[in-house]
């Protein structure tokens, strides 16, 4: 199967996923809204269908509908300074609409007070609007990535607390064997995903950020399901074949880049444009450090205890670790994946990922001689971005990198 065919599989599956959520609602099976952090493994194990409005926002952006929904929310006093995921998501809620129609209403909501400010407060607004119970996951924040026994114990306790909450509100019992299997599948998906990421070290890079952000859909929304494992095995096979043929994802790879922050969902063509200039994003923060951080750091689900495994995945989300860890991840990413330049997207919608970027740029230059380009915009609000201006500035940056290579 080639890349285009894989993309079609994914597109078809995504449509099917949203149809599955609607079917669950029609059939009276519980539907939970969650943040992009899930935890899907636990919820799928308990027969809950997981719906992520944040993922729906990315589809909104792709269909160029985000501006309208952001404005809908702003008209209802949601500040324009707030996260554009939240504004777009809330706008869809208020408008009872979306790129494939309105999402089915949730039976309960799982927010995450530890992840970021919007992931605590956005979900409060949604829960209030739909009059449904809200569960807020909490978690330790480890500044230096040093997880103490009581950090892990609390994270496990939060997952168990969620299981009890789901039992209470759905009547569905928590069955450890089902959960164990879901976590095992999630671990397998992550391990396969890690192999794909490793292959991006090859020159030419067989898979770029454009492809990986699409692949990420399964890790975010389907972790714990067999389909995510099958999909990544398919991608791994295709990627290995490309490596075997010496085929890069970019026609003529001239420059390898590291991209930091969330992609511009309304303009993934920025990545296509880079590729057309011979610049491949061989490594990126988003598909490696956020959900996959524990695995990127070398961790695996090998403890034998599904709660411990899932807790470790949560503890090492990028949202839960401090700048010292982020720095070392960015350094390793740029170094091991052979990047010659970096693009840091200063995202007004995401302080969690954007604060500390100057330190990361400085360290990349001091330790690896890698220069960075930075631009400011929002990942889900097109009003703050000009493609023409961006191209002009990136062009100059790419020229400067090429000159340095000569």
């Amino acid at each position: 199967m080639n890349n285009k065919e894989i993309a079609q599989v994914r597109k078809s599956y995504t449509k099917g996923y949203y149809a599955r959520i609607r079917k669950a609602k029609e059939e009276g099976r519980p539907v939970a809204y969650t943040t992009a952090l899930g935890p899907t493994e636990l919820l799928y194990a308990m027969g809950v269908e997981v719906c992520m409005p944040e993922n729906y926002v990315t589809i909104c952006c792709a269909k160029q509908m985000a501006k309208g929904f952001c404005e809908e929310a702003e008209e209802r006093s949601i500040s324009r300074d707030l996260c554009s995921y939240a504004r777009c998501g809330l706008g869809m809620m208020y408008a009872k609409d979306g790129p494939m129609g309105a999402l089915p209403e949730p039976d309960f909501i799982v927010g995450a007070v530890s992840a970021c400010d919007p992931h605590a407060k956005w979900w409060e607004l949604e829960a209030r609007h739909y009059h449904v119970p809200l569960f807020l996951m909490d978690a330790p924040y480890t500044l230096h990535g040093e997880v103490k026994p009581h950090d892990e114990a609390w994270m496990i306790s939060e997952l168990k607390r969620l299981a009890a909450f789901v039992e209470e509100h759905t009547g569905r019992p928590f069955v450890e064997e089902d959960f164990r299997e879901r976590v095992r599948l999630s671990g397998e998906a992550h391990a396969t995903f890690a192999e794909i990421q490793e292959l991006r070290k090859r020159i030419p890079a067989p898979r770029g950020m454009r492809e990986m952000v699409g692949d990420l859909f399964y890790l975010i929304t389907q972790a714990g399901r067999r389909e995510s494992v099958d999909y990544y095995r398919m991608v791994l096979e295709e990627t290995r074949e490309r490596v075997g043929r010496g085929e890069g994802v970019v026609d003529e790879e001239k420059i390898r880049l590291y991209f930091h922050n969330i992609p511009l969902w309304f303009n993934l063509q920025t990545l296509d444009w880079l590729a057309a200039q011979g610049a491949v994003v061989a490594m990126d923060f988003y598909t490696n450090h956020v959900w996959h951080g524990f695995f990127f750091d070398g961790g695996r689900f090998d403890s034998g205890d599904p709660f411990k495994n899932l807790a470790r995945k949560w503890l090492f989300f990028d949202n839960h670790v401090g700048l010292p860890v982020k720095l070392s991840r960015s350094l390793r990413s740029a170094r091991e994946w052979g990047c010659q330049g970096a693009i840091f997207f200063s995202n007004r919608s995401c302080k969690v990922y954007s604060i500390g970027q100057p330190e990361q740029m400085r360290v990349l230059e001091e330790e690896l001689g890698i220069r960075s380009f930075t631009f400011e915009a929002e990942m889900a609000d097109p009003r703050s971005f000009s493609m023409d201006r961006w191209k002009e500035r990136v062009d100059l940056f790419l020229e400067s990198l090429a000159a340095a290579e000569r």
Binding site: A120, K351, G356
Partner: protein
Amino acid sequence: MQIDFRDVLKDRHRWALQHKQMGGLVMGCYSAMLPEELMWSCGVLPVQFLMSPGPYYGESLSYLPPYVCDCSRSMLEDYMNGTYGYLDGLMFSHVCETVRGLAGICSVRWPDSFVRIFTAPAGNDPGARRYLKAELLSLAKELEHMGGVALSEERLQAAISVYNENRGLVSELYRVRGQNPGAVEPAQVLSAVMASSIMPKDQHNRMMREFLKTIRKGPDVSGTRIILSGLLFENEVVLGSELFSILKACHALVVWDDLASGMRYRLEPVDNSRRVNPLDRLTEDLLGPQPAPLRSPAERKAGQMLEAARTYGAEGFIFLIPKYCDPILFDLPTLTRILKEKDFPTLSLEISGSLLEGALRTRVEAFMEMLSASAGDSIRA
């Protein structure tokens, strides 16, 4: 002698420096929900960063993006320029994502310094309780390692007692002011709370007792009773905020506040029952829900505001919203809706940098006129 807490704030580093001269340690603290009692019991004086609204941010500009609040800029600027050079460490309260980023920058920029983030769980379940107690014990060991005193039940009990006394005195100040707003200027009330955050509590307690004697029998004044919510930069209070002079000119009487350096500075007392271990009591006190908007639902805050309005006869609310403060911005539509449903008008002022007199005066005057006429609508500026 009449105590003026604004004078205390003008000499804000004096108390910390005295503590250091006596051989103690000083911890720079950012925001509420920190275990100050524990720090104090270990011989470490917690000192809250006081915020200036700028616009004179220099070096910090290259470390923080433009879309973060002035509070974080002020903290980083003052730390970088040496204003707080005497600190032995930094402790950040996990009240928002910007604070986390700030802690990260400090830990990277000064890798040999003691920099910690303290997370007080938002929930109140057994797992959160066990975590928090273990975290407090871990922190106590770290403080001992950096030169503090070893944690003991007796010292912690004593610290809790002196902090509780302080909370009681500040709460009494709020009560007296609420019942008779003419008894004390709003800037003095806020200055009193801010002063408490930069000095040993036993010394502040002495000042508070003297201060309360002088204000109990204040003049009766008439005016429109209002509540302030949100954040007011400390320098605005110390140097004389335009807001207070405008409120005075409009005959507005501040009867209560929900400001970050006011009532939100953890004023509920730690349960001082002697049958329970003081560490367990402190743990219980720090668990959620908490005053910080991120870790507490908006309805809870609205409930507290309505209760204060009923108790002190408030007629309207003024929200002071720091630009880029996500937790407050998310809560604001819900708060104003709930207050409006109970027929309380609200005015929301976005603040970035100093409160500009011209822009402020028009909006506040219009709002106060409306309150006087009891129109019942909300204004967002």
